[in-house]
Structures are given as structure tokens and as C-alpha cells.
Symmetry: C2
Subunit: 168 residues, 2 copies
DNA sequence: GTGAATGTTCATTTTGAATTGAACTGGCAA
DNA sequence: TTGCCAGTTCAATTCAAAATGAACATTCAC
């Protein structure tokens, strides 16, 4: 059930807002993040004024829970800036729209952890292969493990290149 | 319900097979592909003999439907080679384990389509913005659209760099 | 302090993607 | 021709991730 303002109405999204949201919902889905994160970022991206959590809840018709969790994710990625206004309790958010920190945040939060868990798993495979004694079989498995290690190495090396290229 | 051999048994996976599968299930999940695709590739990757669809069904305990669909995906990515043996109807598969074509296949099948649909959406946003008349508002939206176009451009440009770096 | 406003957490529900499995297709063999 | 084998398709089911919303903090205002 969509959340409504106290008067029971809800400001409809403009076409521009809807199109921006559509772009980022798709974008974050590709990156493996939930759609609500894309909705929030997409709306902030075309907002001239910063928005509060309650603004997001009302305009997007999502739950407070989703908005809170989505904002947490965006903060961890460095994709939103938090604006503390003196004398006002509510915190406001705006989109951080510079590519470099976005790419950096994504690599740090999403890519590196996966790479690392992959490396752990390859090491475990390596050990299982070391227990193999038949030399013919062993040669084949060694080649496979070596290949995986090579892929991992390239994965690690490509990240700084990506950052350099996409940053600024 | 897992598929069984006619005698009701099923060859258990070796530790090496299980570890390889675990690596690739994770790997393909990150890329947004279903886990069964990772299971199939993971098993093929450490198989010294090519395997048939029925072999995969039996060893992995997945349905014929999953195996068929998974193999189709892997073929489209160029991640498996099909071996036609003369006089034998069954077709056999082996893992294509060279990084370059894998990266190329992934970019062609998964990345480019998303990039293109993104570009279409940005164009639609552009048009909506063009209908905006208030000059102050217009300036802000123009800057946002320009930024998106810049991101798309970089996305397109980074692909060949990735390919060059990961290929060979 | 107390109450109201803001935001978080998490058990439950919902939703959509993955998987199943039965029906089907196409081709080969006898 | 008939029957069988290998593989595909797709409607129905299952399952995991996302979203909800009510209960729970926290903090500010008075």
C-alpha cells in the first residue's frame, strides 16, 4: 500500500522524475542492487532541492523501511550527501553525482568483497588439488587452478585501471 | 526432486568438483546469471572428459529443463564448446576456458544490451527536458542530462579497454 | 523529566526469478 | 511406419530477495 500524505494525497512524479528513476532503477539492477535504491537515487538526481526520508517515502510511495535501508546503501556507496541543517532535526539528502567516487564506492563495497571471497575459494580448491596424487590427473587440475589464479590476478589489476579511466 | 540414474543412485561430486562449482556459482551470480549456469560451467571446468546434457542432469541433480536452458546461455556467451561425435547422436560439451572470448561474450550478451537500453532512456529524458521552458530549471536539467550522456560515453569507451586488458 | 518527531530494525508478506517436470518436437533406426 | 532417444519448451511451482509496516530506539523541544 503506497504511503500518503496526511491529507491522503501524494504529489505525482513529473515525467522527468519518472524517466530519471527508470534509468537508475535499471542501472542499479545491473549492478545487483535492489530497485528501490535506484528509485531513490533517480529522484535525488533530478531534484534541485535536497529531500528528506519522508519526502522520498511520499513522492515514491515506498515504505519508511525501504527508504531507510536504501539510503543506508547509498551512503555506504558514497552516492548521497547528508545535509545537516542547523535548527532542523530532519536530515536532507542530495545525490552525489560525480562519477569517480561512485565508481570507487561500488568497487569498494561490491566488487572487492566478491573478489576476496573468490580468492579464498580458489585457495581451498588449490588445497583439494594438492591432495590429488595421480600425476596425470594432477597435471590437469594444476593447470585449471593456475588459470583461475590468473583470472583473479587480472581482476585485481583491472580495478585501478577502471578507476583511473572512469574517475574524472 | 533430484534426478537419478536408472539404478536409482547418483555419482557424488568430488571435493574438487564441489569447490569448482562453488567458485563459479558465485561468479555467475555476480554477473547476474542464474546459479545453475555456474554449476554447469563449474563442473565442466574441472572435467577431463566432455559431458552430455544427461551427464550434467545426473551429476548435478538438476532438471533437464535447467540443464538445457543453462547450456543455451553458456553457448550464447561462448563459454562452452559443443563436440559432435560422428555416429553418436548425443552432443557433448566442454568448458571454453580462455578469458578473452568469455569476456567478449559477456560484454556482447549482457553489457551492451543494457548500455543500449540505457542510452534510449537517456534520450527520452533529454526530450522531456527539452519541453521544459523555465530557463532556471532548464539549466539544471540540462546539466544532469549532459552528465548522464558523459557517463554513457565513458561506459562505451571502457569496454574495449577492458577487453584489451582481459583478453589474452 | 515528558511528548512528539525522526529514523532504524526486523519478523512477516509479497513479488519476481529460477527451477521443475510433463508434454512436445524432430530425427534416427529398424 | 513405428517406436525410441535426445533435447526443447513452457505452464506451474518453488524459493530467495525485496518490500512492508509495526515495534522499537533516539533525540530534540518544551
Amino acid at each position: 500500500m503506497p504511503e500518503l500524505k496526511e491529507d491522503g494525497t501524494r504529489d505525482a512524479l513529473t515525467e522527468i522524475e519518472r524517466r530519471s528513476i527508470a534509468i537508475f532503477v535499471d542501472g542499479v539492477r545491473v549492478l545487483g542492487l535492489p530497485g528501490s535504491v535506484g528509485e531513490i537515487y533517480g529522484l535525488l538526481f533530478v531534484s534541485r532541492e535536497p529531500l528528506s526520508l519522508d519526502d522520498l517515502v511520499q513522492r515514491l510511495g515506498i515504505s519508511k523501511g525501504s527508504a531507510s535501508q536504501g539510503l543506508r546503501t547509498l551512503k555506504s556507496l558514497g552516492a548521497v550527501r547528508e545535509l545537516e541543517v542547523v535548527g532542523v532535526r530532519r536530515t536532507y539528502f542530495e545525490a552525489a553525482a560525480e562519477l569517480k567516487p561512485l565508481v570507487g564506492g561500488f568497487i569498494r563495497e561490491q566488487v572487492r568483497p566478491h573478489l576476496e571471497s573468490g580468492e579464498t575459494k580458489v585457495m581451498a580448491l588449490q588445497e583439494a588439488v594438492n591432495r590429488e596424487t595421480d600425476p596425470a590427473v594432477r597435471g590437469f587440475f594444476d593447470e585449471r587452478v593456475e588459470r583461475l589464479e590468473n583470472w583473479m590476478r587480472r581482476g585485481r589489476m583491472v580495478l585501478p585501471i577502471l578507476q583511473k579511466f572512469l574517475g574524472q
